[in-house]
């Protein structure tokens, strides 16, 4: 499986954010997207899953299901955790698993991986920011999707949880998955390639992801 982007251009609110962004990521590979605030890191991820319209260029997922869009084969972990405060930890996870099309999920496993198994009956309203983040990461484990798009995945996570997320990401890559992550901080991803959006903000510049 290979996700390739050619000459992507992004326009938000009438302003050119970036243009000429190309990259290609194959199974087992990861790409970290870096850039200053407003460089378009989040927009690039949202573009891949189809939440922001492409102003130019094209996206292709080779080896995926041709009947499904890229977004339908991807997990998107945005800034917001997509949790309902009045539902319990397990109910939140159950809902997203069912909505994302997983059947017969053992919820204990992803909850244990996220360190939330003892809190499964607690309403999500009482979770801390880091715990909320871990619960949305548990969603990635409960439902199998080859492509992970993570927007600042380490935000609000403590050092131990960041290590744990690193392990989770490495095992996803080892299983043939693809990870695109937008981040400022360090990410526990060995061998991740880097795409710096600062160097492509001039609309004509073209750059390839470099190792």
């Amino acid at each position: 499986m290979r996700l390739s982007a050619t000459d992507l251009a992004c326009r938000r609110g009438g302003r050119d954010v970036f243009a000429g962004v190309s990259f290609s990521v194959a199974s087992g590979e990861s790409l970290t997207i870096r850039g200053r605030n407003g460089a378009g890191k989040s927009s690039l991820l949202r573009m891949v899953v189809g939440l922001v319209r492409l102003a130019g260029g094209r996206l292709l997922l080779e080896g995926g299901d041709p009947e499904l869009t890229i977004g339908e084969q991807a997990h998107y972990l945005g800034h917001l955790d997509a949790l309902k405060p009045s539902l319990s930890v397990e109910e939140n996870l159950r809902f997203w698993s069912a909505f994302l099309g997983a059947t017969d999920v053992d919820f204990n496993e992803p909850l244990r991986a996220a360190g939330l198994d003892v809190l499964s009956d607690l309403p999500a309203a009482y979770l801390s920011a880091g715990q909320r983040r871990r619960l949305s990461i548990a969603r990635l484990l409960a439902v199998k999707r080859p492509l992970w798009l993570l927007d600042e995945p380490t935000s609000a996570l403590d050092a131990a949880a960041q290590m744990r997320l690193g392990e989770i990401m490495q095992s996803h890559l080892a299983g043939g998955g693809i990870i695109l992550a937008a981040t400022h901080g360090p990410l526990q991803l060995d061998g991740a390639r880097e795409l710096n959006l600062d160097s492509v903000s001039a609309p004509t510049a073209v750059m390839e992801a470099s190792a």
């Binding site: 899953v49 998107y76 997509a82 069912a98 099309g101």
Partner: protein
């Protein structure tokens, strides 16, 4: 559980828990209808004549009450992104959310209407006709309201815009709902004529509402 039943169950659960809007609608309905006899005075003949109209107006306002948070809540916590990119068609997702909203706010109004009709001197046949018109007509209010809820999703204080956008669109439902309820009590036209048109309005809104709301949501994501 399929994605669509998952949405239905989740939304109904949220609505009946603390902070959900399920009981707010029916309480508002109760309060508005209770106030009317105090304002008009104890003229039983007058209350009987305008009773169906008052119950319908109160039901209309009550069913719009919780509607502005229907998509805005999902937008604010990021759920809407995942709903938009999911494999389930957005139109069906929107319809499931509409159905959950009707089951938790519209249906309680229908059930409460005959009890509260006593305040307005409604007798049994009139109450029966009224319940039937509300049962058929309130889904139309919810599904027309979906369009306004989707348009107002990114706006703060979207509830006011929602009311301004949606209330004019509900005028036909109101006219034929009240006409059918009145026809059963005073005549002279048969109950069936306005009631059939009310059914048609509801069926049309069940189709148009989800498609228009889904289109608005997709447009606003840009």
């Amino acid at each position: 559980m399929t994605p669509i039943t998952a949405i239905l169950v989740r939304d109904m659960r949220i609505a009946v828990r603390v902070g959900g809007g399920a009981l707010m609608g029916v309480l508002f309905f109760l309060v508005v209808v209770t106030l009317i006899p105090f304002a008009l005075g104890p003229d039983l003949a007058l209350l009987k004549r305008i009773g169906p109209a008052i119950l319908w107006l109160a039901a209309l306002l009550a069913s719009l009450l919780a509607l502005d948070r229907l998509f805005a809540a999902d937008h604010d916590d990021g759920s809407l992104d995942l709903l938009l990119m999911g494999r389930a068609p957005l139109e069906i997702v929107v319809a499931a959310k509409g159905l959950a909203h009707w089951l938790t706010t519209g249906l309680p109004l229908v059930i409460a209407a005959p009890l509260i009709g006593l305040f307005l001197n409604l007798d049994a046949p009139a109450a029966g006709a009224l319940v039937l018109t509300l049962l058929v007509g309130t889904p139309a209010l919810t599904f027309i309201g979906l369009i306004g809820a989707a348009i107002a999703v990114t706006l703060r204080r979207g509830g006011l815009l929602l009311a301004v956008l949606v209330l004019p669109l509900t005028v036909p439902v109101l006219i034929f709902g009240v006409a059918a309820a009145n026809a059963a009590v005073v005549g002279p036209i048969p109950f069936g004529t306005p009631f059939t048109i009310l059914c048609a309005l509801t069926l049309a809104s069940l189709v148009v509402g989800p498609f228009a709301a889904a289109a608005a949501l997709r447009q606003e994501m840009e």
